[in-house]
Every structure is written in structure tokens, then in C-alpha cells.
Amino acid sequence: MRTLTYGQAISEATVQCMAADDSIFVAGEGVDDIKGTFGTTKEAYARFGAGRVIDVPNSENAMAGFAIGAAAAGLRPLLVHTRADFMFLALDPLVNLAAKWRYMYGGDKGGVPVVTRGVVGRGWGQGATHSQSPHATFAHYAGLHVAAPASPADAKGLLVRALTGETPVVLVENRNLYPLTGEVPEEATPIDFGVGRIARRGDDVTVVATSLMVHEAERAAEQLAGRGISVEVVDVRTLRPLDDRIICESVARTGRLVVADTSWARYGFSAEVAAVVAEHIPQALTAPVRRLTLPDSPAPVSWPLEEAFHPGAAGVVEACLRLCGQAPGDLPALADVAAGFQGPY
């Protein structure tokens, strides 16, 4: 199979779906820009032009409502935000209307399949309001589906599913994944939401993650293999619906659970995964759950603080070692996937 970058996979899914369904349009601030939203909207703009890849005013709140109205009338909007932080301005229409539309009107009038892509993740000093990962915020609300793909193939397949389904979807993309390469099928084959994937097989510890943290966990697992610790990495792919079964089957075998996330622990993805295990297989755990998440402060800008703030492979290694009763510290520190980022911004 040929390989694509994560960004190319998103671009290809967009173009193929738009070619197959002329009700799909892309809308977002600067989607027609020369940089094309990290390259993901460039080809669609070149192929379909300004009538279907639409640069919009800086009006996130109105654009979300606009998309709902367009979807109600039979179009399929794909909204793009260059920072998911801007989606907080769109929270009301997405949460109070899109998520509830089908149910609130009786369940038999159809849904509003608005698909929203939000870019998350660190760059250089993006700071408190430009590097947050609000996937759990959106996943909290019944009526929305939320995905955070880690691989190029999943980025394509989940976007295809979103653009062919009837449910409003939020897709969270970590910007540090865009250059990552992987095998991607040529066809626009959908991947169903709610089906996780074992990214790596192992027997001693389960690491549950999404998005960028799947890669950090895989790198950690590689290093831990050298210490005789066998790590299983579970990539849930979607936060809602969540694949409870794949999480529980893995933890039932390993007896140990680390959850790694690029957001905060409280009321977040890591809390949800821990709750799923506690509810279904409380007897399976041979050690307490460990969560690798953000410290309880907003994101700082200063470089040393930023380095300390963001979780990465080294943190996964340490959490796994502690769970297995081994002392951390004598392994070479792993740099984050994002550490290769050469800036600026």
C-alpha cells in the first residue's frame, strides 16, 4: 500500500468525498489560504474552487449555526478551525442545537450532520489559548460524536465516515501529526466510530491513548521492551462512542492501566477510561490506575515551562515503570514527538 502523511490523508478524504457528493462544502477562516490549513484544504480548494471551499468571516459562533441550517436543508458542511480553542465560540450551537437536533424534534425528523475539524497541540509558545485539546469537552455531550485519529489511515477513514454519516461529528487533529506518514488505502473506505485498535500488543501494562499520545505510547513501549516490560497500546480512535470492550479486554489481561492524554485529568478522557475499567472489571486491576495528563495550570509560554508542561513518551515510560514496581530514571530520556518541531510558532 502507498504511504501518505496524516495531512495528505485528510486532504484525500476531503477531495474524494467532495467528488462523490456535491452537497459537501468546506468552510473556515483562511481555508483558501496558500498554506491551506496545514495543507489539508489546499487540494480541495484547487479542485473545487471558492464556491465549495469557502473562506468565511471571523464568526465561529454564527458559522456553527449557519452549518446547522445548511445541514438541515440537505447540505453537508465540513467546518475547519485552525485552533480548536476557537471552537469555544461555537460551543453553543454545537452543544445546544446540533447535538440535540434529532432528539429534541422527536427523533424522526433527521439529524444535522455537521462535521467540525479542530486543530490542537503545541507549537512554539502557543500558550494558554492556542494549544488546548478540548476533545473531552465535546465528548461530554450526548448527540455528538468525537474522534481523535492517530494514524493517517484512521484520519482518512474516520473523516470519510463522518462525511457520509448522519451524526454531527467533531474531529480533533494534533498538528504535530500532520507530517507523520503511514499506509493509507486508495479508496474512500469509512472506519466506524466506536471501534478501537490495538496499536501494539503487550502483556504487562495497557496504555490507553488517542491522537498524538498513541505515538508517544508506542515509542515508550519500544524503550520499555528493552527493560523486559511488555506494553500494550490501545488507540481508542473515537472518544464517543468509546470502545469499552477493547479497553476492558486489554486491561483484563495486563492488570495494569495507564491513560495518556494531551488534556487535563479532571473530568477528562483519562477519567472516563478509568471509570469504564472501574465499572466493568474492578477486580482486574493489580495496581492503581495511572494518568499521564497536563499539570493543573493553563499552558505556559516560556520554553522550559512548556517543555515541562506537555506529556510525552518519557512520562509514559515513567508511569509504566512505576506500575511495574521498577525504579524510573536510568533510561535515556525520550524526546516528545513534537520535539523535532523547528518552529517558528
Binding site: D85, G127, T129, S297, P300, V301, P304
Partner: protein, 327 residues
Amino acid sequence: MTSGPARLLRDMVRIRVVEETLADHYRDEQEMRTPTHFSIGQEATAVGVCAATRPGDWVYTAHRSHAPYLAKGGDLTAMVAELYGRQSGCAHGRGGSIHLVDRTAGFAGSAAILGEMIPVAVGTAWAFARRGGTRVAVTFFGDGATEEGVFAESLNLAAVRRAPVVFVCENNLYSISSPLAARQPAGPTIRDRAEAAGVTAVQVDGNDVFAVHDAALTALRHCRDGGGPYLLELATYRWREHVGPGHDHGHGQGYRPVEETEAWIARCPIARAADALRDRDPGIDRTVADWREQCREEIRDAVAHVRQQPFPDVEALLDGAYQPVPR
């Protein structure tokens, strides 16, 4: 000491030299790891407005923060230290270029979510008025921010509460690479929209520091006299790329016609102010050259000083997230 028109020119020269120098360091060193939005070319808006304020007035801005911060009297070294992520920065390295603050100078804060500081200034203005007195709140934002719903909501709120707030829209014709025409209909201007909401509003040549200053004095007087909110729509242009130290016209980026950028550069606010003063002061060019030299030295010293200073202590990562709990 200079005062009056010469001071306006001098403040612009200082901001220009500071920003040009910082842009060079930013590009060459890659040590200021914070997205940075330079105001080079837009100095007359910041200086004209801020020079008209009193020390007790508060200024808020969006992401394009350096020029208003400096024009309001914000501490230069603390700003440079913030860009370099140092503990001595005005936000102790927590905020970066987009979160400048200097309460002593009346620079209340900048924030980079579009439109976010517009209602905040209305609230501050309302609080000022409630306490009695004549303090005014000023809020800078771009043309792009006026597309956010909160702009319309804030105009309405300020008008109905007669809040002493001056809305300062720096209309530089672009939101990143999107031209105004792609985002707002031809016809009604930003000024018109404010007026329709019940806010007194004027359009001013934002590259004419004297015109901006006069208009700002009128606006501030109007607010202090209980006349309610006021909006200044200032036509100007950014010379550099949206974010970062580079130039982006004529390098295949293509969103701005080269001729357009060159025409605006020919309308340099500093050159125009010097032109206006030359009749009365034939030695003005010499004076400007001297100011440039002084300012170069000032910013060079600030950078050299800051680069010797420590980064924040990683142990203190969480400090400031909440009010400290007495141990």
C-alpha cells in the same frame, strides 16, 4: 524632553525601532518562542490614541499588542523579557507576546481570541463610571474582530449603558490572508455599524498620527463628559507578515498585491509626521536620526540585559493558576 507633535513622532520612532530590532532578533536567534504580531507600519494608531489617554485610563488590546503597550508607557524591558520567556517578563513568561500587561502604566492586558477584549473594556468602563470619576477604558482590535458576534453585542451594551469606552478599530484591510472584501460587504463601514448601534463613530486616516490624536482627544473628552461610547475606525496597513518577523508581499504568498503594499509603505506614518513638522522644524530629520540611534541603543541594551536573565523555575509551573493557599 519633547512634547506635543514632536513627542508623537518620537514615540512612533521608538516603537518602530524596537519592533524592527526585535524582528531581527526573532528571525536570527529563534529564541523568542512565542507567536509575535508586529505593528510595523501601524504605529500612528497606537501612539495617536494612547498619547491622548490619561495615566488612569486603561487600554486593552488584541494580539497586535506591542505598539499600544509601549505607547501607553508599558515597561520595555519587561516586554522584551516576556518575549524571551523570562521570569522577569511582564507576565513572568506565562503569557508571551499576546498576553502583555503593565497595570502601572494602565495597560490592562492583551488577548488573542478575536473580539475577546471588546466587552471586557465595556465592563471596565462601566465599573469606572459606577465608581464616579472620569476614567475611560480603551480597547484596540482589528477589522477582522468586528465580524465576531461579540463586537455587535458590545456596541449595544456600551450604548445602552452609556459606558465610557473608546473602541479603536485598526482597519488594516486583512485578517491574516483574507481581504476585507471577502469578509465584509461593500457599503456599510465598521464606523457605520457602530453608529447604527448608537455609538458615536468616526473614520480617520490611521497613518496620520496628528489626526488620530485629535480624534482620540475628542473621543476621550466625549466619554469623560458622560456622552457614552465612541468608536474610532482607523485606516492603516501592516507591513510585515501577519505573525512573525518576515515580509510576505512579493514572495509568492500572493494574498496582497505588491503595488498595494508598496503604496502603503509610501504612506509611512513616521515619514508623514516628519514631513508635517519640517516647515516649523527644518532640523527634524537630524532629530529623528538621533532618536533612532538612542532607541537602538535602548532596545539593544534591553535585549542584552534580558538574555542574561533566568527562565522561570520549572518547580513553579503551577504558581499563579489559583490564588495561593496559605500554608
